[in-house]
């Protein structure tokens, strides 16, 4: 399916992909899609990532398994730790320097 040209508005939505039948269950992959228009209509940024997997049982029960991005989470935690560490070092040594 061909994408349209960049749209005006920011979009953040969850899209269900094609379901797969495995045995008696149906597995539906879910994607989080973020669309950010840039510079008016002269550019855009599209960010798609796996959100979760929904399992629909024979009796129509739904179970959602979230997809965790462990690498991204570790990166963010490390960068926040570095920032906090820098602030602590700055605050501690600034206090000592001023005495």
């Amino acid at each position: 399916m061909k994408n349209d040209m960049p749209k005006e508005l920011f979009e953040n939505k969850i899209i269900a992909g094609d379901s797969i039948r495995i045995g008696r269950d149906q597995v539906v992959p879910l994607t989080r899609s973020i669309y950010v228009p840039l510079f008016g209509l002269r550019g855009c940024l599209v960010w798609n990532r796996p959100y979760a997997v929904m399992i629909i049982g024979e009796d129509d029960t739904e179970r959602v398994l979230p997809v965790h991005d462990v690498t991204r989470r570790s990166q963010i935690l490390l960068l926040i730790a570095g920032l906090i560490g820098s602030l602590l070092i700055w605050g501690f040594l600034r206090g000592r320097n001023s005495r």
Partner: protein
């Protein structure tokens, strides 16, 4: 060494005026197609009773511009030609693998040790730079007091 033959200009396909914008739209549309939600989950891979579905994060950035070129090749010729151009880039990174087996469905995350190590080095660099800066400023203050 044989000379590489270059096609004469008359054989090169030059888009008609007004068509360049359509071509740019077409190319940008194709680029956005590569980052669509349908490519986040790959084709299921079946091995016996187990089915694997790879999941990846896909990011695409696109920019384009258009305008008019005014020109006059002769006294009788006064026309403008619309021009358009664009560029884009797509990134993708594996995030997890969905494993479907007779025991049930589970999701195994993909751990990229290289990216985590780079983030750790960046964080360490920030802290080391802050520490060095504070030590240097302390030394400078001591020298000023000593004078």
């Amino acid at each position: 060494m044989a000379k590489k033959e270059v096609a004469p200009l008359s054989e090169v396909e030059i888009p008609e005026p007004g068509k360049s914008l359509e071509m740019t739209e077409d190319v940008i549309g194709k680029l956005l197609d590569t980052s669509g939600s349908s490519v986040v989950y790959g084709r299921p891979i079946k091995q016996g009773d187990v089915t694997l579905i790879p999941a990846a994060e896909v990011i695409a950035g696109v920019g384009f511009g258009s305008g008019f070129l005014f020109g006059q090749s002769s006294e009788d010729d006064d026309r403008s030609m619309p021009l358009a151009g664009g560029a884009g880039r797509t990134f993708s990174r594996p995030v997890a693998v969905v494993i479907i087996s007779p025991e049930g469905v589970r999701i195994e995350p993909v751990r990229d040790r290289t990216k985590v190590l780079l983030a750790a080095l960046t964080a360490g660099g920030f802290m080391a730079a802050t520490l060095l800066r504070m030590i240097n400023s302390k030394r400078a203050l001591k020298e000023l007091d000593g004078k």
